[in-house]
Symmetry: C2
Subunit: 195 residues, 2 copies
Amino acid sequence: MNFLEERILKDGIVKPGNVLKVDSFLNHQMDVELIDEIGREFHRRFKHKNITKVLTIEASGIGIACAVARCFGVPMVFAKKSKSINIDGDVYVAQVESFTHKTQNNVIVSKRFLGPDDHLLIIDDFLANGCALQGLISISENAGATVEGLGIVIEKGFQIGGRVIRNLGYHLESLAIIESMDGENGTLTFAPQNN
Amino acid sequence: MNFLEERILKDGIVKPGNVLKVDSFLNHQMDVELIDEIGREFHRRFKHKNITKVLTIEASGIGIACAVARCFGVPMVFAKKSKSINIDGDVYVAQVESFTHKTQNNVIVSKRFLGPDDHLLIIDDFLANGCALQGLISISENAGATVEGLGIVIEKGFQIGGRVIRNLGYHLESLAIIESMDGENGTLTFAPQNN
């Protein structure tokens, strides 16, 4: 079991409806030491790739993506979820559905920050049905950038997202893959990992 | 002129309507080295305080608050802007108006992550009319926590927010205070700083 799986077992809370709460250390309160360890682990797994930029989506991906970008010594770009008056009209757009909030969002990245020379590592905290990741991939492809890999902190392995993205041929690494959750007993199991 | 003011002059873009775009290094694309330097500077200015937690609000405050929290060796908590089904009902709430998006948001923090023992450093990227900061102060006071200080990356000194918060007796430090902006010529001036 790796450091993240241990932490999920220690501090994660399994609730009915396949909800895993990790808000005491990952996506509301953040344990910055743990975030840095996550950054180093993604660097270990992707350091053979020529990463020029880390891409994520607001909000909870930002702290993690910063930690990853620091390890690679590259800038981080976060996609925004709604059209701000401070964003130029010149943006890449994808439509993304939020599993958590049951809403549709426009996800946008300014064209100034992604282009054909970029080799991207896409980072996010959770992968369930994969809508957010698919939106980031779509934006990257529209920019002519190369998606070198995708790094997820926690993947819900029993939902479709991870399979879809691996089937599309992308290199996807998840630090913890949840195989099953039991909301009644508050327990979960992890899928075995090679890493 | 400090490192941040220099960077704003180099890469910031002044637009009509008192809009300063710093999205190439601060709040869309992030220069992680600069963010780390910002973290160290806030630590230098507040290290004599007994900070137990850093508090910010999603989204663009998160990366900066992580860098600050790392310097202090404490957790970071970010307030969320809408009620998620993954948040317990047991939350502190404040109403916040967004200058950028012209919307009202509920800002919430779980009661599990703020309490009377907390000595907070509140961090955000921008301060204009101060609604976001006032919401975070309100939440902190409701939690019985002590607001030891507030750290802002860029303050629009010609708007009311900074004056209100200093008048309330809080220790507010802004790394760059914009005295005036000229959207026609794309220029700005900074207020002098003692630090």
